[in-house]
């Protein structure tokens, strides 16, 4: 890919040195795994090595959207005549990859899409054939190019597609793709999102995927390491359930009863002891949690096993806050009896359980 000359630097002194080597004005760019770093102040120009050192120091001591900046890219500043946008995304509805491009580069593309939808050109890629060269040229033409530039832009589009396929990208985006004063086409910014589900065959990204997590709380990172779907929210009722839809519905129901969920936590369709224990540890790690609601639609899972597991974990972890458990499925009567004997309210309906959780919260407060 044609990209500006650049050097990665980790200290202000290295930034200064990089600027000297590049011999001219530079852009200093925070290397963080978040979108929108420019708006957050993570990209700044510098015209001299001294200025680069100062700017580098500034950016290297920043936190961009929750991620600490540990490296910057010092890039030769290119005078751009025109800025374009090109991306390849997964198109859920059409079940294919789609190229999106626009002559309005350098801007928030979602804004362009909502304000000037006619400025965005879409091109669906046949999954069985892959992107053909004539299709890349069609995209280049739609961006307004002809002659030598048409070939240059088409080659970039083809390369973006190749990279997306080779690395299992959900999204690959160049914003902006610039045209320099000399008429050369350069990808001044490139961003790629790797499909989490592909990490078994994209192993080189595995380590970075688990360590760098922008905008994630400590507990969310821990949950991810344990392969639990956990999202922290601002309320005080801790929620654990099995199955994403069921947990979402539980959250909604808490809201309808004027309660506030502290989290979303899905232990997965089956509900085994180990995963419930891991989930309890994460959910209880949030000090805001005052009441715990566990909603298990056991299905094939045996409820008496789940009930015993919950009591066991409660004892081991010394959980003191009130718990409400909704447990249905195979052997539900036995399961509910085990919980009742331990003075934990267990209910048949999730609605009653949600109401009970909110009621218990009011008592605690």
């Amino acid at each position: 890919m044609p990209v500006p000359d650049g050097i990665v630097a980790a200290t202000p002194a290295e930034v200064k040195e990089a600027c000297q080597k590049l011999a001219g004005p530079v852009m200093v760019k925070a290397q963080v795994l978040v979108a929108g770093r420019g708006k957050a102040g993570g990209i700044k120009p510098a015209s001299t090595p001294e200025e680069a050192e100062r700017v580098g120091n500034e950016i290297l001591s920043m936190t961009v959207k929750g991620e600490k900046v540990s490296k910057v890219l010092v890039e030769k500043k290119l005078a751009s005549k025109l800025e374009r946008y090109v991306s390849i995304v997964v198109d859920r509805g059409s079940k294919c990859y789609t190229i999106l491009c626009s002559t309005q580069g350098g801007m928030d593309i979602e804004q362009v899409a909502s304000q000037n939808p006619e400025k965005i050109f879409r091109y669906q890629i046949n999954p069985l054939l892959g992107l053909q060269e004539y299709e890349s040229r069609t995209v280049a033409k739609a961006l307004g190019y002809s002659g030598k530039q048409l070939t240059q832009v088409a080659a970039i589009v083809s390369k973006l597609y190749q990279i997306a396929m080779n690395y299992d990208a959900e999204l690959i985006e160049s914003n902006p793709l610039i045209e320099t004063q000399d008429g050369d086409i350069v990808a001044a910014d490139l961003r790629i999102l790797i499909d989490d589900n592909s990490l078994f065959r994209q192993r080189k990204f595995l380590e970075r995927a688990s360590t760098y997590e922008p905008d994630m709380t400590q507990l969310e990172i821990q949950a991810r390491e344990k392969d639990l779907a956990y999202v922290e929210l601002s309320g005080d009722i801790g929620i654990i359930g099995n199955g994403a839809g069921l947990v979402m519905a539980t959250l909604d129901m808490i809201l309808d009863h004027k309660g506030k969920p502290a989290n979303f936590c899905d232990v997965g369709g089956g509900a085994n002891e180990e995963r419930i224990a891991a989930a309890l540890q994460i959910v209880m790690g949030n000090p805001k949690v005052k009441v715990l609601l566990i909603n298990i639609m056991g299905g094939i899972t045996r409820c008496d096993d789940v009930a015993r597991a919950i009591l066991d974990i409660q004892k081991k972890m010394g959980i003191k806050i009130p718990m409400v458990i909704r447990l249905v499925g195979t052997n539900e009567k036995e399961g509910q009896k085990i919980l009742a004997d331990a003075n934990i309210p267990s209910l048949n309906s999730m609605e009653a359980a949600a109401a009970k959780a909110v009621e218990l919260l009011q008592k605690v407060q």
Partner: protein, 288 residues
């Protein structure tokens, strides 16, 4: 009557020798589903649950007749299994596996479209025509034969709602999960078309969630076709914050798109009754 699977359906199980595949084959057989064998490369000649295991679909079909496939193999091999099932002209192909890379899902769907194969899933609990055929991992006892068709993007929430329909005396024609992934074989519109043609289905429960625009498209379809049967919908995820993935890979609100509110609004605009809690669906169906 029902849709996609019934009394006559005969299935092959991919991954029958795995713990999930073997366990659920047993439960499906107990339910009365006709399963003729399984496929596990390298394990041909063995038996699981009294059924023959074959190395390839070609070999299996030389020995016995089958018309449907259910896939339990791990994500890394799921595309290969699905393509083998499609090539063997099995239809529908039910993909239970979760965590399949989206690139593979896109390829599976493209090949299926070319061959006219219906894919249920991936990341689905499967499909059940109560009293006739269960090709999936759902608990059988919560379903009962009847007149309601059920289509959902979720797993356990589907069980929740099926159980509440059954408890309210509303049995089902066919219940299926389209799958929780961003790219799946069936849209709500596809399934609504099937239920429309099925004379036994008198009403439909449609269970959606945040993310994507499958519900909005369904609303548009219902409005345009003046859909002739009662539809009651429920949308999970009103409490979900934007930009966070709620368990399912497909359950994410991006920008202003995919929120529960826009989905509920567009469905109501199309004349669909929207329940605000899962238990309300049965009540709304009964009332209509």
């Amino acid at each position: 009557m029902a849709i996609l699977v019934g009394r006559k359906t005969k299935a092959l199980v991919w991954g029958i020798t795995g713990s999930q595949g073997s366990f659920h084959t047993q439960l499906m057989l107990e339910y009365g589903t006709k399963i003729v064998g399984g496929i596990t490369p390298g394990r041909g000649g063995q038996q699981v649950q009294g059924l023959p295991v074959f190395d390839t679909a070609r070999e299996a079909l030389e020995r016995s007749k089958a018309d449907a496939a259910i896939i339990f193999v791990p994500a890394a091999h799921a595309k290969d299994a699905a393509l083998e099932a499609i090539a063997a002209i099995l239809n529908p192909v039910i993909v239970i596996t979760e965590g399949i890379p989206v690139k593979d899902e896109i390829q599976i769907m493209a090949v299926a479209k070319e061959k006219g194969t219906t894919i249920i899933g991936p990341n689905t609990p499967g499909i059940i025509t109560p009293g006739q055929c269960k090709l999936g991992i759902m608990p059988a006892h919560i379903f009962k034969p009847g007149k309601v068709g059920l289509v959902s993007r979720s797993g356990t929430l589907t069980y929740e709602i099926a159980a509440s329909l059954t408890n309210a005396g509303l049995g089902q024609t066919t219940c299926l999960g389209v799958g929780g992934d961003p790219v799946v074989g069936l849209s709500f519109v596809d399934v609504l078309k099937m239920f429309k043609k099925d004379a036994a289905t008198k009403a439909i429960a449609m269970i959606g969630e945040i993310g994507g625009n499958a519900e909005e498209n369904a609303a548009e379809f219902i409005r345009q076709t003046r859909y002739p049967k009662t539809i009651v919908a429920y949308i999970a995820g009103r409490a979900a914050p934007p930009g966070k993935r709620m368990g399912h890979a497909g359950a994410i609100i991006t920008g202003k798109a995919g929120t529960a509110e826009t989905k509920i609004e567009s469905l109501r605009g199309a004349g669909v009754k929207v329940a605000m809690k899962p238990g309300e669906i049965a009540r709304l169906i009964k009332r209509s």
